[in-house]
Symmetry: D2
Subunit: 335 residues, 4 copies
């Protein structure tokens, strides 16, 4: 039973906590928060042991009447691995400050630079490379979404080249201070974007990407062009994607006309309307002159959750890739 600490019970952290908690071979021994807000209270209500992410703030929790078990340092002592879900760049600081000192294994998220870890990770694409590693980085939501799809296409049809445009939700739904209210932001302006190289940390593929922020909170959308190595028909591509549980196919005919409908569907199926799968529009799949066009939506809050669970299994060599993915999928209702 692997003991897992979640450092940062926020958007990613709370989802990973719940996912870890429904596995049979691992358990959450505690979660951290920086402040005693409603998320902290919910963590306690759900039965997670709460620790202060910033030791100096212990008193703030006490003053707010929220029971805290100790600090991040106390939590680390009880755990076999930390999943760092703190904001971008803070993970690297935590590594230096706490994890290396304590000699504990750690998983980082995609907001950290790749050199924070020994290996960047995507379950489908390079599970084996994380085996036995001490520091692993699960790539970001956009990179995870791209990699899953490209891995499948590459394995089945070969890829000469990928060109992808990411249309990104500007902030998560809970955010109320940052944003872009009415406009489109090339982000970055200077091309190509970092997503291409980031995919290459987990998959060997020729890819160039561009990215834009738009005023929505629900999901990212990817417009992808893939030059295939072998001949393929639309049906062949659909068959491959249908066969992978972490891909969900939807169609306009069923009413999926935009990300608003995808989320409406997810609200009926999972708490927090979490979508762990790439949502690919079946009708978008189209091969023109040997190039595959495909549109997918990625739920930025949830997509990396199964990969975090699989990363733990890989690091502790608890299971092989297919077995781990199968267990994770079943536990999370991915089918």
């Amino acid at each position: 039973m692997i003991k897992v600490a979640i450092n940062g019970y926020g958007t990613i952290g709370k989802r990973v906590a719940d996912a870890v908690n429904c596995q049979k071979d691992m358990e959450v021994v505690g979660v951290t928060k920086t402040k005693p807000d409603f998320e902290a209270k919910l963590a306690v209500k759900k039965g997670y042991k709460l620790y202060a992410a910033i030791p100096e703030r212990l008193k703030v929790f006490e003053d707010a009447g929220i029971k805290v078990e100790g600090t991040i340092e106390d939590l680390i002592e009880k755990a076999d691995v930390v999943i760092d879900c703190s904001p971008n760049k803070v993970g690297a600081e935590n590594k230096a400050k706490y994890y290396e000192k304590a000699g504990i294994k750690a998983i980082f998220q995609g907001g950290e630079k790749k050199d924070v870890a020994e290996v960047s990770f995507n379950a489908l694409s390079n599970y084996d490379m994380a085996k036995g590693k001490k520091f692993v980085r699960v790539v970001s939501c956009n990179t995870t979404g791209l990699t899953r799809l490209l891995y499948l296409i590459k394995e089945n049809f070969g890829i000469k080249k990928v060109r992808a445009t990411m249309i990104r939700r500007v902030v998560d739904p809970k955010e109320d201070k940052k944003g872009l209210v009415n406009g489109i932001m090339p982000n970055p302006v200077k091309l190509p974007s970092h997503h291409g190289p980031d995919v290459q940390t987990v998959l060997d593929v020729n890819i160039t990407t561009t990215a834009f922020k738009v005023p929505t909170t629900l999901m990212h959308v990817h417009s992808i062009n893939i030059e295939l190595e072998s001949d393929a028909k639309n049906e062949d591509v659909i068959a491959v994607l249908e066969n992978e549980p972490r891909i969900m196919l939807v169609s306009e005919e069923e009413g999926f006309t935009s990300t608003t409908k995808v989320i409406e569907y997810a609200r009926e199926c999972r708490m927090r309307y979490d979508i762990f799968e790439n949502v690919v529009w079946r009708d978008s799949i189209s091969i023109v002159d040997g190039e595959l066009y495909v549109t997918q939506a990625i739920h930025q809050e949830a997509i990396v959750v199964p990969e975090n669970v699989d990363a733990i299994r890989a690091m502790f060599e608890l299971a092989e890739r297919d077995e781990s993915m199968k267990i994770t999928n079943e536990s999370l209702g991915i089918c």
Copy 2:
């Protein structure tokens, strides 16, 4: 066991179906849809018997491979009461076309005019008036939110006059064709708005309202001014509201800085992030010169769900007000 038909398994209908289904004294015998989209498929997947809301469209469902048990007319034969959750104005058409002919009791939603029913309904405010009635109309989301709050204030402190400004979400989250993208719309421009008179269909109170649409999908927000008849302090008002399960108090200090955070909280607690309660900001409660100022957020998709359940009990005289509300609350996790 009251047999309930849901005519219109959409935003309201699907929520009411689930709520009815977790009561011990009633059951859903079938739901209708106008088209075979993903919501229709989800209804079937959840175990609801599906009927065609428009008899002529039976074939459309068959063509889409979705099993349908019959038409709305077939469904009515199996039910004791229909909850009409069709779009505005269609309810009145359905009444003339189906319900009166079949001699079945029916509940309408607030998008219908008040004369569609014998009585307009709010559980707290006028439960007894719906007893034994054939046609009852549950008032709209904004009116339900206002009435709950005003009923409590009136009962406890007396009300001379109410002035309320509704800041309304322009469309529901799933909508992707209508909206207001960047602007504020006085709606109506001509004052006062219809919400005041609509509250008066269920509560005897002097109220004048204004209303505006703004580009958000999550919740309505009400800025309310109440001239009290008796002296009261902030704490007195808070105590009254804390005592009513269908009111939820939140505060900025806990992190509830906007409707985005309220929804984030709800995503952790209920499927579809449904909030059946009025969400009142505790820190907004402020008495100035004998006038109470208070801000509340109303989840337009869910707020009327408990009232629909209570309306059934009232119409069939299954329980008294407090008993019905208690059962409904417990079944829906309202506490």
Copy 3:
């Protein structure tokens, strides 16, 4: 002096009217409106003679106290050419109903199908093909924006293939009933989009496009990938674009971080913040493996205005391409 009638004094019509009116070789003899709203009043205030676009509605204008000179049929009698700026599809109806009958030349907008006219038009790309024609269609905002850029790249470097993703503003700024409030809509879902074939009505180029609607009103943004025939460096591309007045180069360094800043700039320079130019991010221009990546923003309300003016000159053979474009540019402040 060519006498020009503007049928439909709306978003495009009012801009084209003003543009025609500042040319020395043409004049506006009248504009039409369907209803007596503030835009109708502004037309009169600006000195345009107003006509009823729908003959039956003459009385509605009179009732509103707005002076109307007659109907569209009266207006046509006074004109040499009609610029049809009515909503999508209405242009084709007007052609059958009025223009053919009166034997008058007409220019249509890109919302009409290509077969409404003898030729589709873009000034840079195929000016000569409109010479002497009776019915000409100025291609849509997105197509105009793509064509200008691709024409220049093709002429200078040759094009093997183009892949473009359009991120489209969902509605114009004045719209307050339609929209997409919080989401991203693949539009169309089925790929590729019609923009590619539409470009091919005015430019011979191998192009495949995808398109998405996002909740903003200001500008479209295009993410474009162009496989070049000849070697080129970033500077070569920049030099070509800098040389064309209908392209405006901007950079992040100057503060142009998104379309919001582009519009802020335009508000300082032109009435209605009209941007007649393609706005190309200089820093986006990037050649990777012989493929050019470039990002441009297109002001959907204004981009086709100069092309409408040039189309008149071509149809009446008033000037050659370069001369016409030069006159149009100078009159509109395009430099």
Copy 4:
């Protein structure tokens, strides 16, 4: 000829500069910027002498190839008065750092606290109080909008009490980093809001306010309730408002259904679509039980511009209130 320096050529500063520059009794001797972006370039292009707002950054402008005449300190030496248009709170710093030291008169904006100046200012309401003063603060956009309207109502009908709800645009159109993307934010949560007391710095009236931020950039909207001292009819109120040039009356019938249409109208009339007037919906004006309900929209970028010009005249005693307002109005096209 009063020599005016504009410290901060941003949203407010650039508008005030242009307004000052079209007066006969004053001129702009220079404007400052903190960085060499496109707004700085536009200032130079328009003929304004540019100075560095932060002396240490002189070199940054040079490096960007933008000619700067010196620093804010150099500019102050050439001026009779500074209009401080820097961001909130920076005005107070500038006062201590530069204006007091140089002994120069200064006008501050409403983002500063009231004690930054000897008097807070609204032209209609308290022009005379600014006569001969050294430091004057023009109240904020929302306060200016409220004060103009309330002054007129008070003078003509007497006011017992005002309750106002402000629905505020969350950021200005050019902003692309901050915002609220999909939600409604009570701001402040704790009631009442500061706007009431702020109105009282310029007008003696009993007022309580609430305020909310919503995801739009165009205009604020105010829902106002005024208990009148004397009897009045809708027509009486309309007559008073029609008589004041700084109030513009619009109606739904003319097509003004939301702020989007108001801005569309303004785009036809003024550069930057500046609306210096309160935009009051004529059809909203409604007296219920002796209480006046009225809805107005306020263009946050432009509304304080005429007041800044009048404030200069008051401080230098160049004209009496009505004369100053008349000159300002005529120069800016307010009628």
